[in-house]
Point group: C2
Chain length 183, copies 2
Amino acid sequence: MIGTMARKPVARDAVLDAFEELLIDVGERAATLDAVAKRAGVSKGGLLYHFPNKETLIAATLERLDRLAGEDLDAMAAAPEGAAAYFIRSSLWSDTPMDRSFVAATRLAEVAHEEARRRFAAIQHQWLELIGKDVGPAMAKAVLYMGDGLYFNAMWESGPSGKPGSREADVKELLAAVDRLRG
Amino acid sequence: MIGTMARKPVARDAVLDAFEELLIDVGERAATLDAVAKRAGVSKGGLLYHFPNKETLIAATLERLDRLAGEDLDAMAAAPEGAAAYFIRSSLWSDTPMDRSFVAATRLAEVAHEEARRRFAAIQHQWLELIGKDVGPAMAKAVLYMGDGLYFNAMWESGPSGKPGSREADVKELLAAVDRLRG
DNA sequence: GTCTATACGCCGATAGAC
DNA sequence: GTCTATCGGCGTATAGAC
């Protein structure tokens, strides 16, 4: 039948989304299989049919991050405002799939998950290269770290208390700073 | 006897140190009471004599952070090189008690520990004020986030693989960037 | 103060019905 | 494919000996 070619069942994606949400909202510790299954609306057994064990679930989450990060890098390279400005702007938590995926992966890296840390380092490296082409290699790290710092701080706000936090003003300041670094 | 006035027993501090080390090295998940007791060289029962439950242990860890952060703020305010440069320099992982305490607290905040997050926000706010007095309010956030970003990235390196990571070069770049923001 | 022994619940994972 | 039932193990915490 038409539409049957979609490789992944719906439930699988629901589970993946639920895991991501829980990682963001309550942290790795509380993102148990029980909790994930409940939020995804399936039973624990049903979950374990799609992902035989928790590592598989984590691996799938990291693979999604890689895919989204790849797309984001393409957009960054093509951004008319320049890679640096694009990067700063996108460092603001805006609840995109990439944002969610990134923060979720952060939670895993924090718990000392080695594979998550490796993927992170790789993405950071690619960002740095693009920023360097834009503002010059000498100031690239400064820009990269500004964005990371913004992310770092925004993370504490997206807890159970929930609100996206109004950091738009911060972005403006940071963009002004980037301009000064450039010139 | 002389020396008896020290408020806290030695074992208590050993436990606190062990907990901090484990948070840094293996993350919150693996920093179990068993592991902490083992590293501190006491039994689990002995540990639970000093800290009736895990929350108490966490609370003591956060209180130590507050004390160290207070001392650090004083040093920052008095730094001859200026608050901003001091801040950037101290954002490099250098294995001081403050560094260790800060990263350990980070691990707790990451796991969605609300009290840890609150303390963090307070410290960040104080840093921002001092930096603002140094480089001006418009560029303060840029400097603060640079330092945070440096910290954020250095954190992934202090895993089981261990090395402090050679980010001294980054600090130089960042200090140059701060100078450009200032002028 | 510090230890051993143990209770108890939750987590990840398996077996097997439907 | 998705469910229920259940196991083994581990993590927190308590009781009580020394």
